[in-house]
Structure formats: structure tokens, C-alpha cells
């Protein structure tokens, strides 16, 4: 008999003794398929889920609270820790929100670099999704292949900004660095590589694989109405037949000029979503290919010219007195955006990542709310899992593509 104490409390499974005989099990927070720190309390009738209760907060770091205590530029590296699979998309969403508030626009070259990085991050994130999802479902080798290509993409990121996971590769008002030598050539090689591997490895291994189809088809079915009602965005929404991509509908950065398609699936199940992820990677490659020649036509300016908010270039700071004074004030006090509020949605690899910023004219944001797509996708689990079998739970968690950095914030 176990003795319960404060260190190891003893939970008796009361429901198991009842006549109707349901069983309550804890899925996570240490489960390898829980994608981080998801604790899922499942009530099972035999093998069928009767009730699902996602319990989150194991990775809560108070990022919104930290935003109220940091100047706008100080907070930017913290956004890396939201969706740590694709950090640049968080940096960008935050930088864009602040830029909207300030009323400035990044110069053309910065826009080209940012869009490239965003799409590269989308590929990194989707490859990670593919790898872990396939691994969860039981396809080990896809994991190895997908991580191989993801490694190349992360090498490109490392070449650009020096970091592989927490990039901070975007600044408010532009980008910190120009592209290093040979980066575009490497990107072109990477595009070819990913496109080839998509067709000949991943799709060849999975798309018509009958085990894969049996595990994914008609699993995790979300109707279009439910998807909208539960706040699904990104692939979760388009997988249910609603054609809404923020890059197309509310274009930001260079997306209005670029030619790409928004894939939609009417299947509403995990298999349809898997196909969308593959298709989106192809579209990302297509976008990156269009961006490569655009880079050469731009001027070398990387940061927007707004002396009230953004420091001048290093050269100006070192040679011109007034630029140095501005820089000193901006570093020691931080920029003071005008009073107002802004909500800027962006299409991150996971869905709609938006930052709501309320500014009172101080160097500290009065309130910052991060609208994280995974948070709402986790909420959907309490509807989606009911009625499914325990074997499909892992597939459904995988298909929602949640990352706990941004669920718990």
C-alpha cells in the first residue's frame, strides 16, 4: 500500500470502481507525443475517449508580463521563445505590430530578406511537423529524412544570423544584417533539394502509403463551422475547406507582389492537413525562388529611417554626433511609440499569430497580448478528441501542430 504524502500524492482512480466503468488516464506532460508540456486528462470508455481535458501552463513564463516591463527593443529576443520551431515568424509578427504603431515601413531590401526568412522558417517548421507527426504515427524513417533537410535550412539560418533556433533575425524597422556571401546561391540549392526530396522522399514514402492513410484518413475531422467557431487558423482552417490565408487576404511585406497559391482541402481530416503541409512547402519554395532575383534590384539600406524611433546605421553613429545622441537616448530609454492600440495578424507556420499592443506613449508597452494559434488549437482538443479512440489521440495531437512555447507563453 502506497503511503500518500505531500511529495508523492496518491490518486485513487475512483471512476474505475464504478458500474459504468470509465477510466481516467493522464496523457503527459512527459509523454513523448505530447509535443512539449501538454497534459491531457482523458476519460475513457473502453478505448473510446468520452471526455478530454487539456491542461496547459507547464511552460508558462509570463511573456506578456515581461513585455510590460521591457522596452520595445528589449522584448524582441523574448519573442523567440514563443514558437521556438520558427522563431523568425514571431520576431516578425512583433516587429510588424510595432512598426504599424510607429507608422514606419522597412526598406525594400529588408523586406526581401524578411520574406525569405519567413518562408525559410515555414519550411523549417513544416519539416519539423512532418518529422514529428510521422514519428508519432510510427513512420520512423521520415523523421530522419525530414530532419536532414531541416538541418540544411537551419544551417542557412545560422549563416545569416548566427543562431539556429532563437534567431532574433528581424528588428523593429528592418533587419540587422545583410545577407552573407553565397547565401542566395545556397538558398537556391536548398530550394532544389527540398523540392526534390518532397516529391521523391516524403510524398513517395507517405502519400500513398496504406498504413499512413489508414492512420490519418477520417481521423480528427473538423467541419468548417467548427474550425471557425473554435478559432482555428492556418492549415487547421484551410484543411476544413475555408480558404483564408492572411498572406493573400491581408497582405503584408512583399506577399502582394509574389505569385503563390493557397492550397485548400475539403477533406477536413488529418490526411487532408498533411497534404496541405506538403503543398505549402512547395509554395514556400516557389516564393523563395521568386525572391532571389528581387534581392539584386534593391538598395543596400537595411533599417528604416525614423530617427525618433530607430538608431542610425553604425557608420553614422560612429561619425555623426547627432546620430550618436539619438542612439544613446534610444538605447538607454527606449523608443516611445505614439498612444494607440494595434492588432496585427500574420500567417505564421502554425496559423494566425497576432500581436495586440496597447501603447500609452511610454517606452514600455502598456499591454501586449500575443494571439497564439496553438493556444486555440489546444482548446479545440476538448471537442476534437471526444468519440475518438485512444490510438488516434496521438495522431490528432500531431495534426494540430501545437508548440507549447506559444500555448503557455
Amino acid at each position: 500500500m502506497q503511503v500518500a504524502n505531500k511529495l508523492s500524492p496518491f490518486f485513487e482512480n475512483l471512476n474505475f470502481e464504478r458500474d459504468d466503468n470509465t477510466m481516467v488516464i493522464n496523457f503527459g506532460p512527459q509523454h513523448p507525443s505530447a509535443h512539449g508540456q501538454l497534459r491531457l486528462v482523458l476519460e475513457l470508455d473502453g478505448e473510446q475517449v468520452v471526455k478530454a481535458y487539456p491542461d496547459i501552463g507547464y511552460l508558462h513564463r509570463g511573456i506578456e508580463k515581461m513585455a510590460e516591463n521591457m522596452t520595445y527593443n528589449e522584448f524582441l529576443p523574448t519573442t523567440d521563445r514563443l514558437d521556438y520551431i520558427a522563431s523568425t515568424s514571431n520576431n516578425y509578427a512583433y516587429a510588424l505590430a510595432v512598426e504599424k504603431l510607429l507608422g514606419i515601413e522597412a526598406p525594400r531590401r529588408a523586406q526581401v530578406i524578411r520574406t525569405m526568412l519567413l518562408e525559410l522558417n515555414r519550411v523549417i517548421s513544416h519539416l519539423f511537423f512532418l518529422a514529428t507527426h510521422a514519428l508519432d504515427v510510427g513512420a520512423m524513417s521520415v523523421f530522419l529524412y525530414a530532419f536532414r533537410e531541416r538541418e540544411f535550412a537551419m544551417d542557412l539560418m545560422e549563416d545569416y544570423c548566427g543562431a539556429r533556433l532563437t534567431h532574433s533575425a528581424v528588428r523593429i524597422g528592418g533587419v540587422p544584417l545583410d545577407l552573407p556571401a553565397n547565401w542566395l546561391e545556397n538558398l537556391a540549392v536548398f530550394c532544389d533539394k527540398v523540392e526534390y526530396e518532397l516529391e521523391h522522399t516524403y510524398e513517395a514514402l507517405l502519400t500513398e502509403n496504406r498504413i499512413w492513410k489508414m492512420r490519418l484518413e477520417d481521423v480528427g475531422v473538423i467541419s468548417a463551422e467548427d474550425a471557425l467557431n473554435w478559432g482555428c487558423t492556418g492549415v487547421m482552417l484551410r484543411g476544413s475547406g475555408v480558404k483564408y490565408d492572411i498572406r493573400k487576404e491581408e497582405p503584408y511585406e512583399l506577399y502582394a507582389e509574389l505569385d503563390f497559391d493557397v492550397p485548400v482541402s475539403q477533406r477536413c481530416d488529418s490526411y487532408g492537413r498533411y497534404r496541405l503541409y506538403m503543398e505549402e512547402m512547395k509554395q514556400s519554395v516557389r516564393i523563395m525562388r521568386q525572391l532571389i532575383p528581387m534581392y539584386a534590384q534593391t538598395q543596400p539600406q537595411l533599417m528604416a529611417h525614423a530617427p525618433q524611433y530607430i538608431s542610425a546605421t553604425k557608420e553614422d553613429i560612429m561619425t555623426q554626433n547627432y546620430a550618436l545622441m539619438q542612439h544613446f537616448v534610444l538605447v538607454t530609454q527606449g523608443m516611445r511609440p505614439p498612444k494607440g492600440e494595434v492588432y496585427v495578424p500574420t500567417e505564421s507556420p502554425k496559423g494566425e499569430l497576432g500581436f495586440y499592443i496597447k501603447s500609452e506613449g511610454e517606452p514600455y508597452a502598456y499591454r501586449l497580448k500575443c494571439r497564439a494559434p496553438s493556444f486555440f488549437h489546444t482548446g479545440l482538443l476538448q471537442k476534437l478528441l471526444v468519440g475518438t479512440y485512444i490510438a488516434d489521440v496521438v495522431t490528432i495531437i500531431g495534426t494540430t501542430n501545437i508548440v507549447f512555447g506559444e500555448v503557455d507563453r
Partner: protein, 260 residues
């Protein structure tokens, strides 16, 4: 005189603000867009004030009308998704919370933000019957601000532990956490009586306790493990190994100028 520090807002503040600095404001435009004009007309008297800020319609309403307004927006105006819902703490300034509902019209690609204000201690009606996405969002708002939501299906803390005291996103809640937060683990695992034995949490990772004889704090002055040396300690010189160019053991290498 000690500088006055307001207790009702303990968040980050700039240490210097120009006396004559007046913060500019993001321009609030009139509602001219045909779609937004239609929305405001449909809502009619429910709208207290409406304007467009940075491309999105902002509608101010009474807090008691929130379900009615959002129902009209959803069913008549086609705002079929509630992207986000949360609050802003204005207790220090106005004694109120400002709640916002961020809605999206997928067909028109338009966004509306519904704002309302409630006093401290007042509750708000849940919009979960209209939008299930508000389920988690309202729970988070309750967790972070302590705003009660009437008729919510499962109003419980979501990010913080269930037995937590205080609401972290309030302006009165310090970034470092309060008294309760600093003893939370000790109280929970060992009990309050262990606070003295365990001591406060060390938030300085570089801190070295000079009387600690258990955790390698005495490098160069080794004493037996766990010995109490608070009374006094014998100095033991460090002897460095001989090197070719520099003699580290030499004592008289550096002397201060006598005049200082």
C-alpha cells in the same frame, strides 16, 4: 525626500521623461469604409462610439450589451471568428478594466475590435455560446486578471496552478512575483514551517556564500565537508605551480603607491 513610487502600478517605467513631452496619438479616423459603415449602422444604438484605427474598426459598447453586439456581428455582419479576447488593466487610472473582443470576417477579410469597460469586481457575460474559441480565452482572462465570467462552462485557472493566489497580469502584481509566489513551492511541498530552514529562493545564479562548505564555495581554502566555519577561519595560502615566465607565488609584485 524619497522618490514617490505608486503602488497601484508597479510595472516598468521610464526613469526619465521630458516635462514637456506630449505623446502623439495614432490617428483615429472616421468610419468611411462601406463595409464598416454597414456594420455600425446594423449595430445601431448599441454602439457608443466607433472609429477606425490602423485599418480596423473599433466599436465601444456597454459591457452589458457584449453578447447582443457580438451576436449581431456574428449572425448579421458575417464575423464568424473570434480571434482573441482579453483585457487591459486600467484600475490605477480609471478603476476599470477594458475588455476587447477581436473578431474576423473571413469572407470580407475585415477585422473588428469590440471594446467595453467594466468596474473592478464586476463580472462579464460569457460569449462561449457564440464562439467556442472564447472558452480558453475567457479562462485565461480570468486567470490573469481575476475577471469573473458569468455562465462560462468551466471557469478555472488555465496557465497558473489551481491553488495560486493573485492574478499575474494586474498592474499591482510585481514582475518578480509577490510573497506568496516566492514561497509557493516550499509551502506546497514541505509546508510553511520549512520556510526558515530552506530560506528564500536564490535568484542570483552567481551568488557565492562564503560560509558554505558543501557546494564548492571554498575553492582554494578547502575545509572539511559540512564544517561550521562561521566563527572564524584559518587563512591558507594558495600555492600555484611553477610557471616559466610568471611567478604567481611571489608576494611583493604589486604594491600600492604610499601616497594613496
Amino acid at each position: 525626500m524619497r522618490k514617490y513610487v505608486p503602488k497601484d502600478n508597479v510595472q516598468g517605467k521610464s526613469y526619465y521623461t521630458d516635462r514637456f513631452w506630449v505623446a502623439p496619438r495614432v490617428p483615429r479616423e472616421e468610419v468611411r469604409d462601406t463595409h464598416f459603415t454597414g456594420v455600425v449602422a446594423t449595430l445601431g444604438v448599441l454602439v457608443k462610439e466607433a472609429h477606425v484605427e490602423l485599418g480596423q474598426l473599433i466599436v465601444h459598447i456597454e459591457a452589458r450589451d457584449n453578447v447582443a453586439v457580438i451576436k449581431v456581428l456574428k449572425e448579421t455582419c458575417g464575423y464568424t471568428q473570434c480571434s482573441e479576447q482579453s483585457a487591459v488593466d486600467y484600475l490605477a487610472k480609471d478603476g476599470e478594466f477594458e475588455l476587447f473582443y477581436q473578431l474576423l470576417n473571413v469572407n470580407e477579410a475585415k477585422r473588428v475590435r469590440v471594446l467595453c469597460r467594466i468596474k473592478k469586481g464586476e463580472a462579464i457575460e460569457s460569449i462561449v455560446p457564440l464562439f467556442n474559441s472564447a472558452n480558453f480565452a475567457e479562462r485565461e482572462m480570468f486567470d490573469m486578471f481575476g475577471i469573473k465570467v458569468n455562465n462560462h462552462p468551466f471557469l478555472k485557472r488555465i496557465l497558473m496552478p489551481d491553488d495560486w493566489e493573485g492574478h499575474p497580469l494586474l498592474k499591482t502584481y510585481p514582475l518578480q512575483g509577490d510573497e506568496f509566489a516566492s514561497w509557493y513551492e516550499v509551502d506546497k511541498i514541505f509546508g510553511k514551517e520549512y520556510r526558515d530552514i530552506i530560506g528564500p529562493e536564490n535568484r542570483d545564479p552567481a551568488k557565492v556564500d562564503r560560509h558554505d562548505t558543501k557546494r564548492f564555495a571554498r575553492i582554494g581554502y578547502e575545509v572539511p565537508f559540512g564544517v561550521d566555519n562561521t566563527a572564524g577561519e584559518t587563512q591558507k595560502e594558495i600555492e600555484y605551480s611553477e610557471t616559466l615566465l610568471v611567478n604567481y607565488n611571489k608576494k611583493e609584485s604589486k604594491t600600492l603607491d604610499k601616497r594613496r
